[in-house]
């Protein structure tokens, strides 16, 4: 058994010590024993439980459900809880959020007209969701964000103007299940054929109509 690292092997400060032939033979002996030592370790792993699993078709449940709650995946916003305070937009270091709040001239009510998140730019840092006092903006455990064009990475959460929430922090409608809003907004790139288990590129769809208003 070769010792663990800290103990230096005696008399081996350099291989030129002693007769060259002896040192040479010693080197060969040590090399071969230590190789078999290493091979023994590798071999022993043949009889241990493998650490890998086959992704994505041989797992019991989707990875999204295995991730811990605090995982910082793709962002989603529950517009029914959003107060339109724009704290998140101001907190974001790279300006990925684009929120437009308009006022209805007649009823004086305020509406969230646009709530776009540019996940192509987002670095998933979590500063925006920490700034939100209303649990409206949160990270999901979704992480599969590949898309066929940059435009698809701009997520439009407000497809029509939504009145701002007037609830105090901690009240208001219950938060919809994490990920459910995002799944409506983000279209899967691939769909799985249930019968054959093969993934197909999802049919191209017309891009969602941009929120009305054309200020840019």
């Amino acid at each position: 058994m070769v010792s663990a690292v800290p103990t230096p092997v005696k008399g081996d400060r350099s291989s030129t010590q002693g007769a060259p032939l002896r040192a040479w033979l010693q080197d060969i002996t040590r090399a071969s024993t230590s190789i078999f030592e290493g091979l023994a370790v590798t071999m022993s792993w043949m009889f241990r439980r493998p650490a890998t699993i086959q992704y994505p078709d041989r797992i019991d449940k989707p990875v999204q459900e295995m991730l811990p709650d605090g995982y910082r995946g793709i962002l989603e916003v529950d517009l029914l809880r959003c107060s339109g305070c724009m704290l998140c937009q101001r907190a974001c270091p790279i300006d990925c959020l684009d929120i437009v709040v308009v006022k209805d001239p007649q009823t004086k009510g305020r509406f969230i007209e646009r709530f776009d998140i540019d996940i192509g730019k987002c670095m998933y840092c979590g500063i925006c969701s920490e700034a939100c006092n209303f649990d409206a903006l949160q990270h999901t455990t979704e992480f599969e964000g590949s898309a066929t064009s940059l435009d698809d990475l701009l997520l439009h959460f407000a497809t029509r103007p939504v009145p701002v929430s007037k609830h105090k922090a901690g009240q208001g409608p219950a938060r919809r299940p994490q990920g459910s809003i995002l799944r409506e907004v983000i279209k899967p790139l691939y769909t799985r054929d249930k019968r054959t288990g093969v993934d197909h590129l999802a049919p191209a769809e017309a891009p969602p109509a941009p929120a009305k208003g054309d200020e840019e």
Partner: protein
């Protein structure tokens, strides 16, 4: 000696004409020197036995409204004192004498400063651009710098996707790898996409057969201008950017940034948060050293150990996912605390994992560390003496492997490292000479064991309480300068912040271990075999984004 005493000493030797004053009101005081006397003062600081400032931590170029400044952060390993040195230069033609032969690490620092701030260093042997391409115009870190809208037909801004027309034109292929035979030697490009360079780095090799005459690292491919970005981002929001300084050790850069800002705004961190920081940092250190040692073995042909380390690192990633929500860019720390508490179940999981992990280190040693072929391959390769290591500004395991007994965690304790017990690993020349590639490898493996010890103590002793201290809503420190450092996986991670009373810093400079690690390669390369260069790069554990920032 305190900075005041050093100032007194310099005044006695040089007189008030050369030593213009001491800025003692700064958190980390700075001595102002007349630029013409800089070389004499620097030589005296290094050579006078009672000063012995042998380590140039950081060289910074500053663009002030009335002058350009060069700031040298100096430290003495024998005397354990530090001070800053400042030279004010003329705005029109900022020129100062080079100190590259006094502290060899200045060679690259000066190149970078010339490149980004446009300060000329007379006497520098090779004052070329370091980060920016050679045909770049202007000096990006100057305050009046206007960035061009396109560079080789690549736009430098990204419009919002919805308003973007698909007009991407590829630049003309100019940088084609070339191998030209000139007389007896040949020039070969190794990189920028070479598996052994650990990221996008190009090495220009001048080789004579298998023997290298010179290897010149060409860095800057991953230069993202993080220092410039920090100048336009509020203090608190820079945290996620510091993740990107060193993606294998984001906890340390988080920690250093948090400490620097806390010093500036004078914020107290609750004890539990300090313990959380230490736990997260040590987990990160294990993960980072695993990549370093595993990748070194892989680079010189042993693939299996790397995979074994990745398997263990996976658990660290899972724990990190629970602790901070991400696997690589942690963004865990906040000014005045940490983002989330580490709950008891997670602490238990860490402890259980440590019980499993320790035998795995033994297994790794049996697998590779004691492998005679591996040892023969690394022993006596690229030996770095202690003087060289200090002069080139090597830090962390690379410095300790050369026999310098210095660890910021023990010698200038920050956070709660003072209360924890661990050994500082110093290279002993186990199978070759002190400071060879095998020593650097062994140092890292042994440091993993020490981190395990620290983690055990921290997980068991963590006190109850808050994890976020009281922090003003708007971080707006008054004009001041601070230099904070932590012991990262690749050595000293320094953060130099110049505040001017705004919400954003005036100037930020990151001091990273890989930058100085990279700068020693050209010096060590003559006479190496090409295959040994790979071992040298791997054993220095350079991470490309950390070089470029």
């Amino acid at each position: 000696m305190t900075p005041t005493e050093i100032h007194q000493r310099l005044l006695e030797v040089f007189g008030p004409d050369d030593i213009l004053g001491l800025e003692a009101e700064l958190i980390d005081p700075v001595i102002v020197v007349r630029p013409g006397a800089l070389r004499a003062v620097a030589t005296h600081l290094r050579d006078a036995p009672e000063l012995a400032m042998d380590f140039l931590r950081l060289l910074t170029g500053l663009d002030r409204p009335d002058a350009f400044e060069v700031v040298y952060h100096l430290f003495s390993y024998p005397k354990r004192h530090s001070v800053g040195l400042r030279a004010r230069l003329d705005r029109e033609a900022p020129t100062v004498d080079s100190v590259w032969d006094i502290w060899r690490t200045a060679e690259w620092h000066e190149r970078e400063t010339w490149d980004l701030v446009g300060i000329t260093f007379t006497g520098h042997p090779d004052l070329r651009r370091l980060m920016m391409p050679d045909d770049w115009v202007g000096h990006p870190l100057r305050k009046d710098y206007q960035k061009p809208s396109v560079y080789h037909s690549i736009p430098t801004t990204r419009p919002k996707p919805s308003s973007q027309a698909p007009t991407h034109v590829f630049p003309p292929a100019e940088h084609v790898a070339k191998a030209e035979v000139e007389g007896e030697w040949m020039q070969v490009n190794m990189g920028p996409h070479h598996p052994a360079t650990h990221g996008v780095i190009n090495f220009l090799l001048e080789t004579d057969g298998e023997i290298i005459r010179r290897a010149r690292p060409d860095v800057g491919y991953l230069h993202r201008g993080l220092e410039k970005l920090a100048e336009i981002t509020p203090y608190g929001n820079t945290m996620p950017y510091t993740d990107r300084v060193d993606y294998l050790g984001s906890m340390f850069t988080n920690h250093g940034w948090a400490m620097a800002v806390e010093k500036l705004v004078n914020v107290q961190v609750p004890p539990r948060a300090e313990y959380c920081r230490v736990i997260a940092s040590e987990l990160n250190r294990i993960a980072s050293h695993q990549i370093a040692t595993g990748a070194l073995a892989m680079d010189i042909g042993a693939y299996t150990p790397f995979i074994h380390w990745l398997r263990e690192r996976e658990t660290i990633n899972d724990i990190m996912e629970i602790v901070c929500g991400a696997r690589l860019t942690y963004n865990y720390m906040r000014v005045g605390g940490v983002a989330r508490d580490i709950k008891q179940p997670t602490l238990d999981r860490i402890l259980t994992w440590l019980d499993h992990f320790e035998p795995m280190i033994d297994e790794f040693d049996r697998l590779i560390s004691n492998n005679e072929i591996f040892i023969k391959r690394l022993a006596n390769v690229s030996t770095i003496s202690a003087e060289e290591a200090v002069s080139f500004g090597l830090v962390g395991p690379n410095l300790r492997a050369s026999g310098v007994d210095w660890d910021i965690r023990r010698d200038e304790p920050y956070s709660v490292y003072g209360d924890l017990e661990f050994k500082v690993i110093v290279g002993q020349g186990l199978r070759g000479s002190v400071g060879d590639a095998y020593d650097r490898f062994v140092c890292r493996v042994l440091e993993i064991r020490e981190s395990v010890k620290i983690l055990r103590q921290a997980c068991l002793n963590i006190p109850e309480g808050e994890v976020q201290g009281k922090v003003p809503r708007d971080l707006k420190p008054t004009a001041n300068e601070v230099y904070a450092r932590v012991e990262g996986a690749r050595g000293e991670n320094g953060f130099y912040i110049v505040a001017d009373g705004q919400k954003q810093p005036y100037r930020v400079r990151y001091r990273t271990g890989s930058f100085t690690g990279m700068s020693i390669i050209e010096h060590l390369s003559p006479g190496l075999m090409v295959a040994d260069l790979v071992a040298l790069i791997g054993s220095l554990d350079v991470v490309a984004p950390e070089v470029d920032r």
